[in-house]
């Protein structure tokens, strides 16, 4: 798996962000493992601590296994004004997880994130690469049921 990703990028530090994105996307648990960090360190010839520093700086990366679907609910002021806090509470209730936690079936992880730039449709969330706007409790429940159904 790593070989395939590494082949896409020359071994230069500037490609670190891309490589980490690809590795995380290729991981069914949506995270970057210690082993992956080691491999990247060998390929790019940069230190493990540098990679770890980058990895933990950006909010899109995770060093811990996550659910198949990563829900990122925006908590920035525009969404907050439109009730994102209530949406979050309800979301956590229906999934029975805390923020940052993963459901026992491994389907969902709930995270908070900064502004997604879709404030016109606040409150919004992203599930993996898809954006959902104008959220209401009913809409959120529907989306979750739909994804569960697909799984």
């Amino acid at each position: 798996m790593y070989e395939k990703i590494f082949n896409k990028y020359s071994p230069e530090k500037e490609n670190l962000i891309y490589i980490l994105h690809d590795i995380q996307d290729a991981n069914p648990q949506n995270f970057i493992s210690e082993d992956a960090v080691q491999k990247v360190s060998e390929y790019l010839k940069i230190s493990i601590s540098h990679i770890y520093g980058v990895l933990t700086f950006y909010s899109m990366y995770s060093t811990k296994p996550r659910g198949k679907n990563v829900i990122r609910l925006c908590e920035a002021p525009p969404c907050f004004l439109k009730g994102s806090e209530r949406i979050l509470k309800n979301l956590c209730k229906i999934l029975n997880v805390k923020v940052g936690g993963t459901t026992s079936d491994g389907l969902f992880t709930v995270e908070l994130c900064a502004c997604l730039g879709i404030c016109g449709n606040a409150p919004v969330m992203m599930i993996n690469e898809d954006v959902y706007g104008d959220l209401t409790d009913e809409k959120v429940e529907k989306i979750i049921t739909e994804i569960k159904g697909r799984a």
């Binding site: 210690e34 230190s47 493990i48 601590s49 770890y52 520093g53 700086f57 909010s59 060093t63």
Partner: protein, 351 residues
């Protein structure tokens, strides 16, 4: 080039910063992250000053001097900002000077003292970090870390061991070893550069803990006894016990710029070792017996003289040492060449 500090004119060097100029002239500006080796990080923001013609406050550590510059260090505006900044740093951790090993040699303590801060205004620290005692020679107490970044800079750019970095972001930022491993299991080689650079009590020499307050110790410069690089270091001695407590690298030494290795910095136990010989020994019937210096010296002298007489000078050989001084090697070869009368002298240069 003339620069005014608090209204007084000082001669400045063209490539220095305002902070360097001030420190060079014995004027204190609080600073926590600046270090001559790791440079102008401008992270702590404690070194802010006012400059005529420039809006707001400027950090003096990364402010180049210019001719006629008029810098104010002691205005209420400056001091008030510095007070908040240092207060924030003090509030971010558990800075308990009474029990801290760095007491008396702490740059945060110095800054707080200068600004008249008695205790932190806020308590931001919530026991989030455990003490990392896993390393053989170094203790990491992140509750005292102010994220100045000197250790990270030193590890990556000075000794280039590339073990330390910052992990996480914002208030959660902390120093990490490799992928956040305990220091002792990381790839750290314990050169101690980070300990030497740490301005507070976060990274400390484990074995010096409880061995004496900074002001009780005397410091003498000398040269490392291990490999041939000749790193210059300072030995910290507890005079009451005539004991070496710690060793630190000399920053302005052209050979090592303050750097040392694990042996040079921590491998000094042999000097105060219990196993040291304190009396000449003479072997009798296969066993060593303590003897006086007179006895031992005359035995050696008479033995060498008689063997020389009986078997000739070349029956005697001497091994000089790669670990003693030039002067001692000089007199040793003089002894072998002049008094014994042979060139049978060598040492382990090749071994």
């Amino acid at each position: 080039m003339i620069v005014y500090l608090n209204g007084k004119a000082y001669k400045a060097k063209p490539d220095e910063t305002v902070l360097q100029l001030a420190l060079r002239n014995g004027i204190y500006i609080p600073h926590l992250c600046y270090h001559e080796k790791t440079g102008k990080a401008a992270k702590c923001r404690a070194c802010v000053v006012e400059v005529e013609g420039m809006p707001g406050l400027k950090t003096s550590c990364n402010l180049p001097v210019s001719d006629g510059m008029y810098v104010t260090i002691n205005s209420e505006k400056v001091l008030q900002a510095q007070r908040v900044v240092v207060d924030l740093a003090l509030s971010s951790g558990q800075h308990d000077c009474l029990s801290c090993e760095q007491n008396g040699d702490c740059e945060l303590q110095d800054a707080a003292y200068y600004l008249g801060i008695e205790r932190p205004s806020f308590q931001l620290y919530d026991d989030k970090y455990e003490m990392d005692d896993s390393s053989e020679f170094i203790r990491v107490d992140r509750s005292k870390c102010i994220n100045c970044g000197r250790c990270v800079e030193g590890c990556n750019y000075t000794v280039v061991n590339e073990v330390l970095n910052f992990g996480n972001r914002g208030f959660e930022t902390k120093i990490v070893f490799d992928g956040d491993l305990p220091m002792g299991t990381s790839a750290c080689v314990q050169c101690g550069e980070c300990v030497q650079l740490c301005p507070v009590g976060c990274l400390i020499d484990k074995r010096a803990i409880g061995s004496g307050r900074v002001w009780e110790l005397e410091k003498v410069e000398t040269v490392c006894p291990y490999c041939g690089v000749g790193c210059r270091f300072e030995v910290h001695i507890d005079r009451k016990r005539e004991k070496i407590v710690r060793v630190t690298g000399v920053e302005d030494s052209p050979t090592n710029n303050g750097m040392l290795c694990v042996k040079g910095r921590y491998g000094f136990d042999f000097v105060n070792s219990e196993e040291r010989l304190t009396s000449p020994l003479i072997k009798e019937n296969g066993k060593f017996k303590e003897a006086s210096w007179d006895e031992a010296i005359s035995l050696v002298a008479s033995k060498l003289s008689s063997l020389k007489k009986e078997f000739g000078s070349d029956s005697i050989a001497g091994l000089a040492s790669a670990k003693v001084t030039n002067e001692e090697n000089f007199v040793f070869q003089k002894l072998i060449r002049k008094e014994v009368g042979t060139n049978n002298i060598d040492h382990c240069a090749r071994l």
